[in-house]
Amino acid sequence: MRYAYYPGCAAKSSCLELDVATKAVASELGIDLVELSEASCCGAREISSVRPRLALTLNARTFALAEKLSPTILTICSTCQLTMSQANDVLKSDRRTLAEVNETLSNIGLRYGGGVEVKHLLNVLEEDYGFNRLAEKIKVSLDNLNVAAFYGCHLLRPARSRRNKTAKPHGPMETLIETLGGRVVDGSGGKVCCGFPVLLTNEQLAVKMSGDYLKRLKDDGTDCIVTPCPLCHISFDMYQGKVESALDVKIDLVVLHLSQLIGLGLGLNARQLMTNRNVVSAEALLKRIGL
């Protein structure tokens, strides 16, 4: 099982722990990741909305680089997954556009042949690796921790581009949590947005969006949120302090990356998963499951 690994911008800066944890987990599971260290930002919806052709070309370059390594790109960010899947759909279906984009790429000695697929780690585990196989490798149980699954909008919508065929209300993340011994709480995450895209332009709005959700989870007795998207992680974890100030309430809800949660189940330790970088401290939680 070999994948062209696309960490994305967040996992290489603020969310370095995600990159490290993912590699640790992959190694433990026997999944071979070849990092696309020269890939650029996918552009998120930021670039694709104002300069669609530019976004297409940047991603086509990434695909061209990946094509040499593996037919499948593995991403660890919901937004990267959507942006790249949509770009790929266009490039694979519209020959003229692909030709035009390749013409630009030829200036830098690259060409995309249309032979790559984009999958999120969650898709890879569900479809390629298999949760049953994962279950066999579990060493530590989550001890009925109350876990809220927060996919991130871009892993669920829009339906027409959705690579991940998440069946509501019980999808792959829920299955994963249960496989790891946790208890799934609150199914409303699929309707909530973490607010990340306006975090820098309208912080008040973003904090209100995530804050109402975090407070409700906390009131309901949730122990931690798990998310497959570092952008959602930034919003819920890095900005949790802001939420607390705005709502004037203590939240103290641990936010784990998907890779970190899986890593815990596989028996990896705090250092390997870099949980010390999580702003809301995961110490108590780790103690509870015996680490």
Binding site: E38, S40, G43, E46, L54, I108, P158, P197
Partner: protein, 297 residues
């Protein structure tokens, strides 16, 4: 079924009443409401066409906004007035706010108003573009699902407004600067969550075809927030985006009140003042930007 009841003249606060309703397969909520109205007590709700054409019967059903004539009734369903709007009575809400926003947009082609009896030539491309939004009946289901509209209606007018605006913007007989109107309606407060597209009864590609195309137009006339340009430049220069640099260049340094928070992030390694290196082949990215005629300075 559990139905929200509220009569502002009589009730101090809303109440939820449970009714037993005989069921048949594929019964729609509208049919159930009619049964309740006839066999239990009068219920106030709007409807007109009962066949998904007028959008009058928008309500919140089991927490999701939808049309009562479309959504199927289910056991223990919770029926509430459309979330995000002031309740007038029972399931009837006040659309006055969005209506006046809509009307203020003057959604008619702005060309010179003496009419010429010969129909003006309109390209088929323009017609295809207009078609995308022609099914919008401003039912407000999308607005109800939109987190930006719900949390800050004063700052974001809601997806339905942008869809209606997109319909007129696609009309080649219209000269008005619709992107400026879109901008003034809070265009850049959209969080791109796709909830609007998910709930639209007519599957209109609101986010990608209306909202994001307006963003493109706004960017062309430099009506975008600084963040967009910063983002683009960071990608051009380094290939990857460093979160801290994005923050600093968009927002500047943290304010005094934010300092404790900023220090916390710094201490965890989440933020850094030092610039990170980009990818080695960043020149390739630069070439791509040049080919797209972006930032040629």
């Amino acid at each position: 079924m559990h139905v929200y009841r509220f009569d502002p003249k009589l009730d101090g606060s809303p109440r939820r009443v449970t009714y037993l309703v005989p069921y048949w397969p594929k019964m729609r909520v509208l049919e159930a409401l009619r049964v309740i109205h006839e066999t239990h007590e009068p219920l106030a709700f709007r409807s007109c066409c009962r066949a998904k054409l007028c959008g009058s019967c928008a309500m919140t059903l089991n927490g999701e906004p939808g049309l009562a004539c479309e959504v199927e009734a289910s056991d223990d369903m919770v029926i509430e007035p459309l979330a995000g709007f002031p309740v007038l009575k029972d399931l009837i809400v006040d659309f006055g706010g969005v209506q006046s926003n809509l009307d203020s947009l003057q959604l008619q082609p702005t060309r010179h108003r003496c009419f010429n009896l010969k129909p003006k030539s309109i390209s088929l491309d323009a017609i295809e573009q207009m078609k995308k939004f022609s099914c919008c009946v401003w039912c407000q289901v999308c607005n109800s699902a939109c987190p930006s509209f719900r949390n800050a209606p004063g700052e974001f007018a809601g997806p339905s407004l942008f869809t209606q605006l997109a319909r007129i913007a696609a009309d080649p007989r219209d000269n008005a600067s619709r992107q400026e109107q879109a901008h003034s309606l809070g265009l850049f407060n959209c969080v791109g969550c796709f909830r609007c597209e998910e709930v639209c009864p007519y599957d209109i590609p609101i986010l990608e075809e209306a909202i994001e195309r307006f963003r493109e137009k706004c960017f062309n006339v430099k009506l975008n927030p600084r963040h967009t340009e910063v983002f683009l430049r960071l990608v051009r220069d380094g290939g990857l985006i460093d979160s801290s640099r994005l923050f600093l260049k968009t927002r500047g340094y943290p304010s005094i009140s934010e300092l404790p928070w900023a220090f916390q992030l710094l201490s965890r390694g989440k933020a850094s003042i030092l610039a990170k290196k980009g990818i080695q082949s960043a020149n390739q990215i630069r070439r791509i930007f040049e080919a797209q005629r972006m930032f040629t300075n």
